[in-house]
């Protein structure tokens, strides 16, 4: 029988929740890396035992952790002394060394971006927000970082190289949102792996058709009336999350700062599909594993009140690709609920019926084994949840 493994990153450590295919009884394992912020954990589609984790701290900076046994044991990749010292005695790369590419070899200068006060600031690494393993190679993984950039590792996270072409996509106009200037979404096109999408707050969405070497903004149709002086600017939009169904990789669903949108042409243009949502502000968005037009969002009251409208925690589902949404409430608190659900904190499994999972800033992780019809808390009292990912295991 299949089983599922839910990888939960929190403000104070990582937790691994496991269940069989019925998804009724759960085992909670953790905390791993107690006391550290775990921004994101994700498993390799090519090897489910290969997990990557972003472990960060304001005091001690960035650490990358890797597990080769499904989360039982973890190590920072390549931390043996011989992995770090070259034959000439000089240090080689390290798994937590994210250097923006300003090398003479590529001729790319360390460029600047806009700061809050309108001045230009050079890129400065803060942390890894998102790790996206390759679809086919367990040793290849991408990292979305703050200040916004994408890095690639081809040696299991031991060394990282920036795909610096992204910063050439009008990077001088990007600026941080309140949460920092972070690259938080990385999508790899299943049928055309050289095509990738990323999303940045607050810059927008971007597409590469050459495996990350060059990029261009893909924000046509986005409107940010109250956030930007030019509401339909080419860049500067605060995209919160983008989701894609693997069987329809040219169809993208976006939760923006305000507005839920859809693209049917690989990001060339977007149309709003907020429809009858009680609020079109929110953070995560997810697509059903087997129904490419079934989409999930969690409306939040506003950008100044990061909690559900009316104190009711409701997931909204559209079975027709947007505009027509139904509230999913069974098993979710319908009064006095004022938690938030962050952008990387909702995911689906691959079982039938499809399971949906999300984590809250109040420390609950909810699961639905029936496509969202009913929900139960898998665990109630974790630290604030930053990310949720799911692995479906044979």
């Amino acid at each position: 029988m299949n089983s599922v493994r839910v990888l939960v990153g929190t403000r104070k450590g990582a937790f691994i929740l496991t269940s069989d295919g019925k998804r009724k009884q759960w085992t909670v394992d953790g905390p791993h890396f107690g006391g550290w912020e775990l921004y994101h954990l994700k498993g390799s589609p090519a090897d489910p035992n290969r997990l990557y984790a972003s472990q960060t701290s304001s005091w001690f900076g960035q650490v990358i952790q890797r597990s080769d046994d499904g989360g039982k044991t973890w190590n920072p990749p390549g931390t043996k002394p011989e992995d770090l010292m070259g034959s000439d005695g000089m240090p080689k790369g390290a798994s937590n060394m994210f250097l923006y590419d300003a090398s003479a070899e590529t001729g790319r200068p360390l460029t600047t971006h806009q700061h809050y006060d309108g001045s230009q600031r050079p890129w400065e690494f803060k942390r890894v927000w998102h790790l996206e393993p390759s679809l086919t190679d367990p040793d290849t993984v991408y990292a979305g970082v703050e200040d916004a950039a994408i890095f690639k590792s081809t040696d299991g996270g031991t060394t990282w190289k920036e795909l610096a072409g992204l910063r050439s996509a009008k990077g001088q106009l990007w600026q941080p949102g309140a949460g920092g200037m972070c690259l938080h979404t990385i999508l790899i096109n299943t049928g055309q792996p050289d095509r990738m999408f990323v999303a940045i707050s607050a810059a927008g969405s971007f597409r590469s058709d050459d495996a990350g070497q060059t990029w261009r903004p893909t924000n046509k149709g986005l409107m940010s009336k109250y956030e930007l002086p030019d509401p339909d600017a080419d860049v500067g939009h605060c995209v919160h999350s983008i989701a894609m169904h693997p069987s329809h990789p040219n169809v993208l669903f976006m939760q923006k700062h305000w507005d839920v949108l859809r693209s049917d042409n690989g990001g060339e243009s977007w149309q709003e599909i907020s429809g009858n949502l009680p609020s079109d502000f929110g953070f995560p968005i997810a697509v059903h594993a087997h129904e490419p037009n079934t989409v999930y969002v969690v409306p939040i009251k506003s950008d100044s009140e990061h909690y559900p409208p009316d104190g009711k925690l409701r997931v909204y589902r559209s079975k027709v690709g947007g505009n027509e949404w139904e509230a999913l409430t069974k098993g979710l608190p319908q009064q006095d609920c004022y938690v938030n659900i962050l952008r990387d904190a909702m995911a689906v499994d691959q079982l039938d019926p499809c399971g949906i999972y999300f984590g809250t800033t109040g420390g609950q992780v909810y699961g639905s084994p029936d496509g969202g019809d009913s929900w139960t808390p898998i665990v109630r009292d974790l630290p604030a949840v930053l990310s949720v990912e799911v692995q479906t295991l044979p």
Partner: protein, 98 residues
């Protein structure tokens, strides 16, 4: 023989449960202690000082002999009591919280 005390999170990361003892060749400075520490415990690289600039991370402090040495130049010789092993070099996460 230099004694070094790490903060809890870095002891866990380095998988040590008590203070460390390092043999330093040459002048005993913050730089030379960290060079040796990072070569023996490479998972600590980047967590105490920047990979490239080698500057102390903002919320890291170096204490010894009841003195804050954090703002000293990192190639300043450490106190004799640290050099002889009578006192440890404390690597500390700056106080925070409310």
């Amino acid at each position: 023989m230099i004694r070094v005390v790490l903060p809890q999170h870095l002891r866990i990361l380095a998988r040590v449960d008590s203070e460390l003892v390092l043999d330093i060749t040459g002048p005993v400075t913050v730089d030379s202690v960290l060079d040796t520490l990072e070569s023996q415990y490479p998972m600590l690289r980047g967590t105490i000082r920047d990979h490239v600039t080698r500057r102390r991370r903002p919320f890291i402090r170096f204490f010894a002999c009841e003195q804050d040495l954090s703002r000293e130049a990192s190639d300043t010789p450490l106190p004799e009591a640290v050099v002889t092993g009578a006192e440890p070099l404390l690597i500390v996460g700056a106080m925070a919280g409310g």
